[in-house]
Structures are given as C-alpha cells and as structure tokens.
Amino acid sequence: MNWQEHLPALILAIPLLGAFATPLFSLGGKTLRNVWMVSISFLTLVLAFFIWKYVGANGVMVYVMGAEKATLALPSGMTYPVRIILEIDGMSAFMALAGSIVSFAGAVYSVQFMDRFTGMNRFTSLYFLLTAGMLGLMITGDLFNFFVFLEIASVASFGLIAFWRDKPEAIEASFKYMLISQLSAMMVLIAIGTLYGRYNVLNMAGVASMLHLGFAEKFVLAFLVVALATKCGTFPMHMWMPDAYAEAPAGVTCLLVAVSQASLYGLMRVCFSLYGATIGSTFIPWVIVIFGTASMFFGVSMAVVQHEVKRLMGYHSISQVGYMLLGLGVGLLALGNPQAMADYGFTAIKGGVYHIFNYTMYKALLFLTAGALYYATGTRDLDKLGGLARKMPYTTFMFAIAAAAISGLPPFNGFVSKLLIYESVFAVHPFFTVAALVTSILTLASFVKVFQTAFLGPEKACFATVKEVPTSMIMGMAILTLAIVLLTLFPTWVLSNLVEPAAKALVDQGGYIGAIMGGGL
C-alpha cells in the first residue's frame, strides 16, 4: 500500500491528535508539552510539504473518507459521490503549505511568548484545533465538510482571541467576531443546503459538474461570496478584523492570518471551481474587483491614522486582502475569454496567488514582531514606544525586512506579486492600478511611521531595562524571515514551481471535476 495516498487524512488527523492529546502531554510538565506542540506542528509542515510534492508530481489527489479504497471516488454503479471526499489540487496544496509554515512559526514563537501565562494546555489544544480547521478548509472537497471546518476554525479562533480573558477588549473583539462569523456561517450553510436541494450532492466537483446558473444558484453565489468575503475581511464587512487581530496573542494572530487566507481560498474555490466560466454572466467578478479596490484603499487609509501597532497591522491585512481580491477578480473577469485570459487574466491570477503566499509570510512575521514589542515593553501604543532598535536588534532587522516586503519595496517579494497585479490589472482599467499604487505608497508611509516611532529615535527612560526577546520567539520570526528572503531571491523558481501550478489548478475547472467524476464533464 502506498502510504502517500493517505496523506490528506494524515494532515487533518495529526493536528487533531495534537489538539486532543495535549492535556495528556501537559501532565508531563511544561517541557514535554512544548516539545509536543513544536513537533506536531513541524510534522504538519512536513506532511504539507509531502502533499505539495505529491500533487506537483501526480496531479489532483483524492481521498475518500471511510471507503475501502481511498482513491476511488466513484465505486462502480454510483453516478455521483456520496462520501466525504478530500480533494487536493495544486491550489489546495499551495495554501496548505503556506498555512502550515505559518502554523509552525507561530507554535515555535508561542513557546516562550505564552510562557508568562497559565492555561497553556488549553492554548495548545485550541491552537491545533485552529490549525486543523484551517487545513481542513483548504483540502476538503465537500461542501458541508467545508462548513464544518469553517466552524471548527471559527470556534477555535473565538477561544484564542479571548484567550487573555482578563482584558475586556479581548472579550469584546471575540464577541464581535463571533456575531459576524456566526451570521456568515449560517449564510454559508443555507447556501450549501440550497445547492444540496438542487443537485442532491454535497461534493464540490459533483455540484460543479451539474451546475447551471438559475435563480437559486445566483442566490447561493451571492450568499457564499458575501459570507466568505466577510471571513477574509473585505471592506464593508471588515470591522471585526482589526479588533480581533489586535487583541489576540501574537502567535495566534499569526495563525489567524492564515485562517483568513483559508476563507479567501474558499471564496476562490467557489468562484473558480464551483461556478467556473458560468460566473461570467453574473456581475460577481466585478463585485470582487470592487470589493478588492475598496478594501485596499479604505483599509490602508484607516491604517495610516492608527497609533496602536497591532491594530494598524490589522487594517493592513484588509488592504492586502484587497490586492488578492483585485488580482483574482480580474482573473475571474477574464475567465470565459481565452484571449483575455492569455493577455492579462492568467497573470492577474498568478499575481493574486503569489500575493497570498507572500502576504501570509510577511504579515505573520509583522504580527510576530509586534508581539515581540509587546512582550518586551508591555505596551502596544506607538505613542509610548521608541528607541528600541539598539535594545532589540534581531526584532528590528526582521521587522524592517517584513515592512519592506509588505510595502512592495524592490527587491523584496511583495514587489514581485504587486508588479504582476499592477500590470495585469492595468489592462482592465488604469484606475485599479492607480488605486493599488496609492495603497502601496500609503502602506510604506504607515510602516515608516511604525519603524520610526517604535525602533528609531532616542532611547526612553521607561524602556531602559528592555532586553531582546527570548530565543524561541526569535526562532519563530527567523523561520518566516528565511521564507521571505528565499521568496525574494528566487522569484522565478517560486513562480514556476509554486505559484503557476496553483494558478493553473485554480483555473482548470475540468481537471478539478474530472478527478472525482472520472472525466464525466
């Protein structure tokens, strides 16, 4: 038996095992629990890497839960799949890789970051539950299973955002996120139910193979787009995002970034794989483009005036998600038209997909450095911070790299993906490029502000005893810094080996359906 065909189940089982076995291991003391935490997340990373290798070599990976033969989606005599099927194409593997890198960095970071607090076994459990939810969102091929993982990720993140429950703001942020999140989850469930009512199938590929755009399908599309756009934080529904990101512990915020990317992945899966070219007859591509532009611009203009470092970064998340929505929305616009697809559409999708990876890396790193500031000084208020560059040289260095990358300063990786987006979006309308450029400049401006006020400037007397953060926190940040530097130095390799398979898999609706329905499209 080929062990590699069980990888999709393993990548869900390992974090879940990590979550539920944590109380057992925390009986053995702090060290054992920390070793358990780091090793499980490292194992997840290794599995994600194997999945990515396997998908890159062998194409779409299918795993049927509970069947005799794991790769047989349609046993003889069946016309449509009934079991829960995990389906991993290039895009899923790509997202799982990005998510598990961030999860590993966050786990390494949290070992000493959360050392001051009690309740670490609950923290560890929830952390792995969140990881499992995120990976499940990325690799599932079943609509209801998607909802279940969405809820697992949501519940775990509610708990983690409110982890510092002695802080009223944390509870408030968690409650706000919970209300919005529950509403959108219920809308997702109604949409899924409607699709089931129409087609009797819950499998994404199965629904996609039969889908024709009618009244109900349009409603479903609107519901899914709005709900998932809310979960990944687009402009009019983004208000939970800065609150939640600012109040969660830093290691969790770093993972929440990846979870919001999982929701973005869900949105793209719905648009590209579920609806495919039929989406061109609705105005949803334009909705996504407009969502993207609005989130980009309004997010960053709110970020410029913030003076709390994690809240500022939370607003930047909104604007960076806008970039991806813009790139992928332009790709959706070009989806039905082979000429436009070749001209600019595929480049836009590549830019959007590449930006997902870059964003996950540098935004996670930024949140970790903000957490390091909080750990060292005990405050997040930029008005109070200052002169920390000499005290915390490693943090400063890594913050500078991440800030340059997020602002799209050449030669960092953020620039490459932004360049792809700028140039392809220009073909649709120059206005979008202008908006993206202005956003980039304002991003730079606000990070110059953070760098200048937190790290540069004269040393303050109240921070005279500040030391560099402990080793595990530096290690956690260094993992992401290394990823950023590698992405910077080898953009061609990354584009052709990492991004292009993902973008191709996203566009290739026939391949996604064919892997399950046996080419029955």
């Binding site: 609705t282 949803i284 008005d383 360049l419 140039e423 502000k449």
Partner: protein, 113 residues
Amino acid sequence: MWNKVFTGFGYWDVISWLIFFFIASFFALWLRSIGRRDYKEGTEQDEIYWSGNPVPEDGAEISVPASSSYWGFRKALEPYYKVLVAMHSGHIRDYVGYYVVTAALIAALILVV
C-alpha cells in the same frame, strides 16, 4: 532559477536590482566616508541640537509620538476621515448592519444584472 519574471508587459529581474542596490550602497558609503571627522568629542559638538536648550535626559521628552505623524495628511483629508472613522463606530449592530445590507444588495442585484 535566476531568470527574469515576465509579467506580460514588462519583466522583473532580482539580480539587476541587487546589483543596483550594491552600487547605490557603495555610493552612499563613499559619501559617508568623506564626511568630516574633526569635531571635538565629548564637548557640546557631540550633543544633538535642541534649539540651544539643554538636552533632556529622558528620550521620551524629545521623541515625536506616532499620533503626531502625518498630521497634515490627516488634517487635509479631515472630511474623509470623519466619515471613515465614524463607520468604525464600535457598535456591533452597525457592523452587522453593513454585513446585512451588503448581502442584501448583492443578492438583489445579482438577480437583476
């Protein structure tokens, strides 16, 4: 691995940028190296200029707080920021309202368009 990234309209080459970066940093360091070193250390010439006043011991008194940066930008765009900050009111019902209105708008428009 070291090739250019073609975007369809132009290209991106990380090596040429790194070379440019090294040339630029060479010039910057050269200019820095020909600066004057003949100031007297340990005297007033070592201190920062604080309008002639004695320099405070605590750095907190002479640093610009983050709220003060980009004051002009904020002032110039005050009407815009008034609306935008008012949107982020902190009322959870407002947030749910935006969500519901957006969902209703898109769900209604998708049937028309």
